[in-house]
């Protein structure tokens, strides 16, 4: 008969891996939540899947952070602070290849919910189609980034509509644009883009029952009432959980 050492090792591995995960979960939720925010169906979208009975919400942020008109949410100094090499001027002919070769980096990003930054970007829109789309889209806008979460949180202490999330950021250099009919001139610049944020949020029972019972999963065009409001709490490791769900209808 084979020795049982490797079998016990495999069992132990499963148990240890699970233990690590459960301890991590417990530590994240220990003590008081580090941040709390209530978002609506505009920011947390629900897609029903017939093959998946679990309920997951997709956290969406506003596309207004990537407006080509020149609104950038990180300046060059902030980009460099994230660990990117910014030694080449954006107007340099080598700039495009130089910045393209840099791999995306991890960072912590501050998102403001329905605040002055989003209001300013929204009112600056001139395209009526885009305006209409943004009226129904997310109001969560990235406004700042730093390599350290505590440092970033310190800058927004007391702001209940700002949450700090881990993210993946990449950069590229944009060439200068001359002024045109409806566009102002724009100098060459370094732009920062969010490649990824933790966007899948699991909704546990009993809250998930409410989502499964919904007859529609997207708001009708004219409606101003959200389909649902979800309160998220974030723990020590900035991992969220659903604290409360309200269905106004």
């Amino acid at each position: 008969m084979r020795k049982l050492t490797s079998l016990f090792a495999a069992v132990a591995l499963v148990l240890i891996a699970n233990a690590f995960a459960l301890v991590h979960i417990a530590r994240n939720r220990a003590g008081q939540a580090t941040q709390e925010i209530t978002l609506t169906d505009r920011e947390l979208q629900y897609y029903r899947d017939s093959d998946d009975s679990g309920v997951r919400l997709q956290l969406q942020y506003s596309s207004l952070s990537h407006d080509w008109t020149g609104l950038t949410w990180l300046d060059r100094k902030q980009v460099c602070s994230l660990g990117f090499d910014c030694s080449v001027e954006p107007g340099d002919p080598r700039a495009y290849d130089f910045y393209l070769r840099q791999r995306p980096r991890t960072a912590f990003v501050a998102f403001e919910y329905d605040g002055p930054a989003w209001q300013k970007a929204f009112t600056a829109l001139q395209d009526p189609n885009r305006l209409e789309n943004e009226r129904r889209a997310s109001r969560l806008l990235p406004i700042d980034a730093a390599p350290d979460a505590a440092q970033l949180r310190g800058g927004y202490a007391g702001r209940t509509n700002v949450i700090i999330l881990p993210a993946i950021v990449r950069i590229q250099s944009d060439p200068a644009y001359p002024a045109q009919l409806n566009r102002p001139a724009r100098p060459a610049r370094i732009s920062a883009f969010l490649v990824q944020i933790p966007s899948n949020i699991h909704v546990p029972k009993p809250y998930s029952d409410g989502f499964r019972a919904m007859t529609q999963t997207s708001r009708s065009e004219k409606s101003e009432t959200p389909l649902y409001r979800v309160t998220l709490r974030y723990g020590q490791f900035l991992e969220p959980w659903v604290a409360e769900v309200e269905f106004p209808h």
Partner: protein, 358 residues
């Protein structure tokens, strides 16, 4: 009687050799080259029958050609069946997990890999060919992946590369316990990915982009290739070939990636220059591995290296000629070079044959 045979693959090789000797002796008798006396013939047949019977009893090897063909069918069926069962388990879980509470979800995902591990052990003790054990081991690995992935999803955990380490070690333990080569390949894949991902994290980059720096895999591929020189396999004598093939494959794919996308290299300098350097490294290294494989009689390494030699050569010729040469001329030249390669390999083969005869 089993001559120190340690593994099923060794036993199968021995059984195949006995069958071939039997066939060749019959052929030699038919051509009048060699005729055994009745006593010698009887002695050989008795030895062959006894040995084959013992090998079949101990290792359940194929002792006839028909059995060998059926075994291949069994292997393919058990692999496809294993993959289908994995998909079924994952989809079943996905279909119904939302209807149960969080504690039940956690308990189910934790018990699944343990239950399938128990099933694998039971199957391995009941059946020596390990077809069912191999299938269940694959399911156990899928359940282990589901376990950590589901926990991460339920509790919205930030993804980490450490899950790759857990899966790799689990696959490695299953591979060594039951002598399963597919599990060993998966283990190597997971562990290499984890190593590259960990390096990315050290540099402040996201672990998911672990494939963005192929140079990690250039070095790790060579380490995996060299592993059998350090790790002695007394029990699983077919595993060194897996390490060599996996290592050389990873090395070649990484070099090919850098030859096509030099921008992913750590080295500063013009992208085109880096690509040309890796292209020539690919050509030289494939030739080197072919020579090494011929010397050490590593057929898999020779064949794989030859295939990548052709790929690297094609890539180089494509970059030289595709833009300006008419297409029919390009492919004509490729065909001509292929013929020259065939002639060169034939000459090499003849030279090796003369060397062996001398």
């Amino acid at each position: 009687m089993n001559g120190g045979t340690q593994s099923r693959s060794e036993a199968q090789s021995r059984a195949d050799r006995i069958r071939m000797v039997r066939r060749e002796l019959a052929e030699l008798e038919r051509e009048g080259v060699l005729t055994l006396t009745a006593e010698q013939r009887g002695s050989f047949e008795e030895y062959a029958d006894k040995t084959l019977k013992l090998l079949a009893e101990q290792f359940d090897v194929d002792t006839t050609d028909s059995q060998k063909r059926v075994s291949w069918g069994l292997r393919i069926a058990s692999t496809l069946g294993g993959l289908a069962m994995c998909a079924a388990v994952l989809l079943f879980f996905s279909r119904y997990w939302g209807y149960v509470s969080t504690p039940v979800q956690v308990a189910v995902v934790m018990l699944l890999p343990l239950a399938s591990l128990a099933g694998t052990e039971y199957a391995a003790r009941k059946e020596r060919t390990l077809y069912f054990a191999g299938l269940l081991a694959l399911i156990a690995l899928a359940c282990s992946i589901l376990n950590l992935a589901a926990l991460g999803s339920i509790f919205n955990m930030t993804s980490s590369q450490n899950a790759l380490l857990a899966w790799g070690l689990f696959a490695l333990l299953l591979a060594y316990r039951y002598g399963l080569r597919p599990l060993l390949v998966m283990a190597v894949g997971f562990l290499l990915s984890w190593a590259s991902a960990t390096l990315m994290v050290r540099f402040g980059l996201h672990w998911v982009n672990f494939g963005d720096r192929p140079e990690h895999f250039v070095v790790m591929g060579l380490l995996v290739f060299a592993a059998p020189m350090v790790i002695v396999h007394k029990r699983h004598t077919d595993f060194p070939a897996v390490y060599r093939l996996a290592g050389v494959f990873v090395f070649f794919v990484a070099v090919l990636a850098l030859a096509e996308w030099g921008g992913h290299s750590y080295f500063p300098g013009a992208t085109k220059t880096i690509e040309r350097i890796y292209e020539f490294l690919g050509l030289i290294s494939t030739a080197g591995f072919i020579a090494l494989g011929i010397r050490r009689q590593w057929d898999g390494v020779v064949n794989l290296s030859a295939a990548f030699f052709v790929i690297f050569l094609f890539c180089r010729l494509y970059h030289w000629w595709w833009d300006w040469m008419p297409r029919f001329v390009f492919f004509g030249v490729i065909g001509g070079i292929a013929i020259l390669l065939v002639l060169a390999f034939k000459r090499m083969r003849a030279g090796l044959k003369e060397g062996a005869e001398a």
